[in-house]
Each structure stands twice: as C-alpha cells, then as structure tokens.
C-alpha cells in the first residue's frame, strides 16, 4: 500500500472518529475554558497558515505567482460581496486561468 493511501485512510478514519467521539464522550471532557478556546481557534490558525503557504509557497521556498495571488484576490472580493461558496471558487480559478491564458501573469 502506498504512503498516500495510508495518509488517506488515516485521515478518513480519524476525521470520522473525532465526530463519533464528540457524539459519545461525556461533555465535561472539554469543560476547561482554555481547552475550549484552543479547540475553537485551531481551525482559524491552520486555515490561515494553509492560505499563506499555498499562496506564496513552492515546496520549501517562497515564490510569488502573480496569477495565483490575483485569483485569491478575486476570491476575497467575491467574499466581500457575500457571494456563495461556488462563485468564490469559480472567481478565483477563472481569474488565474484568464491571466495565464492572456500571458499577463
């Protein structure tokens, strides 16, 4: 079995296990306010990190890709206009694709 398959299966089983654990464990397990705050803030930190690294990261180095940054800018603009999820995604991909097709970026 390839390493990628193992990663896929571990991710899938753990993500399901976390959901089941939430439905099953006694609520007092997460009663401590600091544990709650950590759990609430973890997705914020990780999502921001993922955006930053994917926006300007290339493997172990940082590199600026103008088309990709423009695509993210289009996504931000769509979010400011309260566009639905799919419109945000299409705006981002469409902007990057259009700039590349035109040879601008």
């Amino acid at each position: 079995m390839s390493a990628t398959w193992i990663a896929v299966l571990v991710t899938a089983v753990c993500c399901y296990g976390l959901k089941l654990a939430g439905l099953t464990v006694p609520p007092r397990w997460l009663a401590h306010p600091r544990a709650q705050r950590f759990a609430v803030l973890v997705p914020v930190a990780l999502l921001a990190a993922l955006i930053a690294v994917q926006a300007v990261g290339r493997g172990e180095s940082l590199a600026v890709d103008p088309a990709r940054l423009a695509g993210l800018g289009a996504a931000a603009a769509a979010l400011l206009l309260r566009a639905p999820f799919l419109v945000v995604i299409l705006a981002a991909a469409g902007t990057a694709a259009a700039l590349r097709a035109l040879g601008v970026a």
Binding site: G22, Q36, V44, L50, V53
Partner: protein
C-alpha cells in the same frame, strides 16, 4: 394563521435540503483539486465518503501536491477535523440517536448540518423533531451531492491538461479563504490568531519539510488560548460568538451570560444562512 406542529419540522427539512444541495456542488471543486494535487479519483472518493469534512480533505490534498511530509499533512487534516468533535458534543443531547443510528449520524456532522440543526428553535417534541429533521435533511442532501461532485470533479480533472491552466491550483486556497472568512468577522482574537498562524507557517517554510509549517501554526491558537490577555473581550463572552465555543459553554454552564450566539454565522462555508 394557525401553525401546525409539523411546520417547524418541514421548514427545517427544507432549509437543510437547500443548503446541502447548494454547498454540495463544491464537491466538484474538491474532486478536481484532489486529482490535480496527485491523489487518485479513488482516494478522493474515499476521503469524501468517510472523512466527509471539506477543510481536512483540501488540507491533505495540499500536502500531497507539495510533495511534502504526509505525516504532517495528515496531522493538519485531523487537527482541522477536530472542530467536528466539538459539534458532536453539542449535538449529542439534541439528536439523542442511539446504537447504529449514532454511528451513521456521526458521519453527518459538518459545519453545515450543525448550523442548520442549531438554528432550529429547540424545545418540546416539535423542537426536537425539527432539530433532527434539519440535521438529517442537510446530511442527506449534502452527502449525496458532495460525493457525486467529488467523483465527477475527479474524473473530469483527469481529462484536462495542466491543472494550472484552469486555475485549479487556486481552488484549495480560495476554499480555505471562504471557510476562514466568517471566523475573521467574529473578533480581534480570531484575526490576530489568523495573522500569527500565517506568519508562523511562512517563517517556518524555508526550514521545514512541506506540511510541517501548517501544524506549527497551531501554536498561534495555543498561545491565544493560554494568554489571559488575548483580545479585549472576556473569554466566556467571546467563545460564545463561535459555534464550538457556544457548544462547550452551554454544556458546562447553562446560565452563562452568552447573549444570543449565531450558529449559522459561525459555521458554513460562504457564511450561508440556512433559515432567514
């Protein structure tokens, strides 16, 4: 007009169905991005069928795309999925499913199904039925469209040439931005944590194998959780602004002066409001 007892139940089911069908189409984006990242269509489908939580799935695909450390990629995906455990804590008492139903209901816990379930006026037999109807309608419609979308996107992307030509490399970060967006509007602590997380990850990138900087960014959340002075809002009140915080709070202290939390705003990708 006389409200029959079935009305809240029907309304909850309708809201859940509409939200599920709308959000589920973004499974197309995941399927395409996953295959562009180097996952096989079968791997993309297993993730959607079993993990069934968008942010984690995109995170693992990103780790595969960067050719980086799969252990770190898996860790960041699982950390991102931990919020579903908190949703489960909150939903357990409301849904009160038992036995095999609980095993199935656990799969259905997502930002969207939790938002719809918690948006129902709970209380009494009708309230309980409405919570269940909202949860199950969202689960059913979102699960079907998300998985059908994943399959279609994964098979379709394989037929395209270079993923960058179609901007597929921007799909992942754009999806993350859409998921993060409603959280950034919640308060200064969220924005500070987001900024710190991004800076930690960027600073670590030249020195770490790809994937690890994402896990290190969790330190930003840890710091904010441990610092008593983080933000200007008292912890209890601030936590109440988010769905997960509200969940844990009400589990410990029913009388907490939380104001009116807004579960629909705290969850759901594009800040979709299920029942307005």
């Amino acid at each position: 007009m006389a409200e029959t007892s079935a009305d809240p139940v029907r309304r909850a089911a309708r809201d859940g169905l509409a939200l599920g069908l709308a959000v589920g189409t973004s499974g197309l984006a995941f399927g395409a991005a996953a295959v562009a990242s180097g996952l096989s269509p079968a791997q993309a489908c297993v993730l959607s069928l079993v993990a069934y939580t968008g942010a984690s799935q995109f995170a693992l695909a990103a780790a595969v795309a960067s050719g980086g450390n799969l252990i770190a990629g898996t860790a960041s995906a699982v950390l991102l999925g931990s919020r579903n455990g908190l949703y489960g804590l909150r939903l357990a008492g409301l849904l009160s499913f038992r036995g095999p139903f609980r095993l199935l209901a656990a799969l259905g816990i997502t930002d969207e199904s939790t938002a719809v379930a918690l948006a129902q006026p709970a209380g009494g037999r009708t309230g309980r039925a409405a919570v269940r109807a909202g949860f199950l309608a969202t689960f059913g419609s979102l699960y079907l469209t998300w998985n059908a979308g994943t399959l279609a996107g994964a098979l379709g992307a394989g037929k395209l040439g270079s993923p960058n030509t179609f901007g597929l490399d921007v799909v992942g970060p754009a999806a993350f931005l859409a998921l993060l967006w409603p959280r950034l509007r919640e308060g200064r602590t969220e924005r500070t944590v987001a900024l710190a997380g991004a800076l930690i990850a960027l600073a670590a990138t030249p020195f770490c194998p790809p994937g690890l900087p994402i896990v290190l960014a969790a330190a930003a959340a840890l710091g904010a959780a441990l610092l008593p002075s983080a933000g200007t809002v008292p912890p209890a009140r601030e936590a109440a602004h988010s769905l997960a915080g509200e969940a844990a709070l009400s589990a410990t202290d029913e009388a907490a002066p939380c104001g009116q939390p807004d579960p629909a705003g705290a969850a759901g990708p594009a800040g979709d409001r299920p029942s307005r």
